[in-house]
């Protein structure tokens, strides 16, 4: 299929990129400004051509693998736009790699708290997926640190929501809505993030009973139970950390690190109310995962299998949903035919559909990624 000349014109103006195999069947564009991105989306909308958004491409399977008429990359927008260091905020283009961002911030004693397990992932991709790093127990989710967002919408306009301020109730909270929206409302071109100062020290302690540590400790950074062992991450001065470790009868060993990214072909994220984590863990154990990482007090278990039967996944999902949670298939490499990535669609589908339609009237922005095929 040849793209219409109106679309090709907008794409050339925005900077064509070589096509990426397996992502887009046609041309790929890497705009360098939000306006260019909006112009391509406006042209694509007029021709009903789907546009797939991509950062580093590590999460193309989330919401199910798709192909699109046009690929739009954030690689042309990887700059630091503004970093008023003392305000503990930073504005970056969506294409910046999280590892690069963290290294830069750490040098000034700051952190974005974004997940850095895959340092080449982009900030835009992490925000679009709404993923949080290990410090969520102490510092809350990524969503609470996206202060401002600039979005090229499905109707071809550049819109900005929120502000470059750590406290703000001026208008509807577009940044939080866009976080985790998987590109369904538009292409994120830049974000302002709230930063935190790095603590004097962060230590990881091996513990026997993660659930007991969760009850005993006051606001630890993370409490993780995994196939490799159970760990608590504590922040503070060296003295504070050693007192806290002693209070749960544990030793500090600076050689330990928190579990790394799960690389098994099937990756499922089980999300339950934190009070139901123990019950959900039993459900996951029953299905013998090759690897798992559970975050106490947060309610997320990520589990990987080299293979697992479709029936097992459906059964797990049913039981997790009855706990008030969800079992999301983040990756299946074709091993789970017919399994919906999300499970039961949320009860607010009619409002979600209207939002999608109002921000993406032609349905061209990452179509099909959200639950219910939105």
């Amino acid at each position: 299929m040849n793209l219409p000349s109106s679309v090709m014109g907008a794409m050339r103006a925005a900077g064509l990129s070589p096509s990426i195999r397996g992502f887009s069947d046609e041309a790929t564009v890497a705009p360098t400004t939000a306006e260019q991105a909006a112009a391509v989306l406006a042209a694509a909308a007029a021709e009903d051509l789907s546009v797939g958004f991509r950062g580093a491409g590590t999460r193309d399977e989330v919401g199910g693998p798709r192909t699109y008429a046009i690929g739009m990359l954030s690689s042309g927008m990887a700059e630091v736009i503004d970093w008023p260091v003392e305000d503990l905020t930073i504005v970056v283009g969506s294409g910046i790699a999280v590892g690069e961002l963290e290294a830069m911030l750490n040098e000034k004693g700051q952190t974005s708290l974004l997940p850095t397990g895959e340092p080449h992932r982009t900030v835009g991709g992490i925000v679009a997926e709404g993923e949080s790093g290990y410090g969520r127990l102490k510092h809350g989710p990524t969503r609470d640190r996206v202060l401002e967002v600039t979005l090229a919408t499905g109707y071809g306009k550049v819109v900005r929501g929120g502000g470059r301020l750590v406290k703000n109730v001026t208008g509807y909270d577009l940044p939080r809505l866009v976080t985790g929206s998987l590109g369904s409302l538009g292409f994120i071109t830049s974000v302002c993030l709230k930063l935190w100062p790095l603590p004097p020290k962060r230590s990881i302690i091996s513990v026997d009973d993660a659930a007991a540590a969760y009850e005993q400790l006051y606001r630890p950074f993370a409490i993780v139970e995994s196939d490799a062992g159970s760990y608590v991450a504590i922040e503070g001065s060296a003295k504070d950390i050693s007192i806290q470790a002693a209070s749960i009868g544990a030793q500090i060993d600076d050689q330990i690190s928190l579990p790394t990214v799960i690389s098994e072909p099937v990756l499922i994220s089980v999300r339950v109310p934190p009070g139901s984590l123990a019950a959900a863990l039993r459900l996951v154990f029953d299905r013998r995962p090759d690897r798992f990482v559970a975050q106490h007090g947060v309610g997320i278990i990520e589990a990987g299998w080299s293979r697992i039967a479709v029936d097992q996944v459906n059964d797990l999902r049913g039981k997790v949903e009855s706990l008030g949670g969800a079992a999301v298939v983040l990756r299946s490499n074709g091993l789970l035919p017919g399994v919906d990535p999300w499970g039961t669609a949320p009860p607010t589908m009619s409002i979600q559909q209207r939002l999608k339609q109002l921000f993406d009237p032609s349905g061209i922005c990452n179509p099909g990624k959200l639950p219910g095929g939105l």
Binding site: A42, P84, E86, G154, R164, Y172, R176, S181, G299, I351
Partner: protein, 468 residues
């Protein structure tokens, strides 16, 4: 049948208020605006709320939800003759999950009552607006309320996991969830802070925080505002985010001392109230750090309180600030702008200059740690021309805050008060996008119309794209 007689048939006479005296009571909140009320109803269940919504929609009467009426921006004040749905009778604590540290509560529950009733379980609800003895959780959700302790813990949105919402269609739905990152768009994100324009919240799943094992409060006096502000910036840059960092200027200190004798020094330009919480050692570490930074910035006085009575005394001055102002003048107008923390000093200087030029008395008490300014003008509304001067000064203060990279509101909301100032912060396309959010929930615009967004915010319907 008239709307009122249908409401009476639904709820009974006692829960439908429409006598002139009632209408006058419900015509305003704690701010300066008032509006026309058709009736005020007091439902007790979500189903009753939904029935009230359906009746109002059938009669074409707009709906305005209301909690305790402590709002300052006019969010609960009808713009056109409206039905007030008052949620104060839905104030229960329904379910507490101690392991998950969450609770389902009614929107009419008073903020402070939630933390008080959870104290024995070692948990609390973090948002602590100054109105917390009166304001409701539903109202806090509506405005995304803040308070001194939001510096470290975030405003109300960070503490609301889910909400039951009665929509403009009369449906009862849950937005958000007790589980993290549930699939789909996070509608909770926009419902919190929507000031009742997206629906009526009838039940809330709140996140509860552990009570800190230890705490210290520091009162620090400075000879210049610059030193106080520089201390704030350095404390935060040092790697410790205190639980609260509040500042008061000299006029406010004098008013407070005259009112409650909290023992604040009256010979300084500003006092900083810093609170650090955590484990015993972390509190000791943070206290030492704050003291050393304050000393390096020429602190004139440092008092540290570690037991709860002493800490309460240091907080007493801060918490009495608004009461103290009412001893000075019969009326006050309280602002709520935010600026980047590093611009505090320069914006404060401009605010003093504006007050002087308009001949109005200015006092400042604010959340310095997150740049949330609360310039307060004390005045007598009976003085001829005074209201006009107060409003003119207010308008200028908002503009200088925005010019310094700030915004209209940090915790009070937009309501009616700041609605028409929204174009100072957002352009046409930005406001249009926000109007789309509202239209997704309430296409008929029956839910608290005339709030948050200026009229005409939807400016280009589907431009450049075809509607399916």
């Amino acid at each position: 049948m008239s709307l009122i007689s249908e409401l009476v048939a639904l709820l009974g006479e006692e829960r439908v208020r429409h006598h002139p005296l009632d209408l006058a009571v419900f015509a305003k909140d704690s701010g300066v605006t008032s509006g026309p009320v058709v009736a005020a109803v007091l439902p007790e269940t979500a189903a009753e709320v939904a029935s009230c919504v359906n009746l109002a929609v059938a009669h074409g009467v707009p709906i305005v939800p209301r909690g305790a009426g402590t709002g300052l921006a006019g969010g609960a004040v009808p713009v056109e003759p409206g039905l007030l749905i008052v949620l104060t009778r839905m104030g229960g604590i329904h379910e507490v999950d101690e392991i998950g540290r969450t609770a389902w509560v009614g929107p009419g529950l008073i903020n402070l009552d939630l933390s008080t009733s959870l104290a024995s379980r070692g948990l609390h609800f973090a948002p602590d607006p100054s109105s917390q003895q009166a304001s409701t959780i539903g109202g806090n959700v509506g405005t995304n309320a803040g308070g001194p302790h939001c510096l470290a813990d975030g405003t109300t949105i960070a503490h609301i996991l889910a909400a039951e919402l009665v929509t403009a269609d009369g449906d009862i739905v849950i937005v958000g969830s007790g589980a993290p990152d549930l699939p789909g768009l996070d509608l909770r994100s926009v419902v919190v802070g929507s000031e009742g324009t997206l629906g009526i919240v009838t039940r809330v799943l709140v996140r509860l925080m552990q009570n800190p094992p230890d705490a210290a409060t520091l009162l620090i006096g400075f000879r210049t505002i610059e030193d106080a502000a520089a201390t704030v910036s350095q404390i935060i840059a040092s790697g410790t985010i205190p639980a609260a960092l509040e500042m008061m200027d000299r006029p406010m200190i004098e008013a407070v001392e005259a009112f409650v004798h909290a023992g604040y020094p009256t010979d300084v330009a500003a006092v900083l109230l810093a609170e650090v919480t955590g484990t015993g050692q972390s509190v000791a570490d943070a206290t030492a750090l704050v003291e050393s930074i304050a000393e390096a910035h020429n602190a004139a006085l440092i008092r540290v309180a570690t037991d709860s009575d002493e800490r309460a005394l240091l907080w007493k001055g801060r918490k009495s600030a608004f009461g103290a102002v009412s001893q000075k003048a019969p009326d006050y107008y309280l602002h709520d702008t935010v600026v980047p923390r590093t611009r505090l000093v320069e914006v404060l200087a401009q605010i003093y200059e504006i007050g002087e030029r308009h001949g109005v008395e200015m006092l400042n008490v604010f959340h310095a740690g997150d740049g949330n300014l609360h310039p307060l003008v004390a005045f007598d509304a009976n003085e001829p021309g005074m209201i006009e001067r107060v409003r003119a000064a207010a308008d200028e203060m908002v503009r200088v805050s925005i010019k310094a990279g700030g915004t209209l509101s940090g915790e009070h909301g937009i309501g009616i008060e700041k609605r028409d100032l929204m174009p100072l912060v957002f352009n046409e396309a930005d406001l249009d996008a926000q109007a789309r959010i509202r239209d997704a929930f309430d296409p008929q615009r029956i839910m608290n119309p005339g709030k948050v967004l200026p009229s005409g915010s939807r400016c280009f319907d589907a431009s450049g794209a075809r509607l399916p």
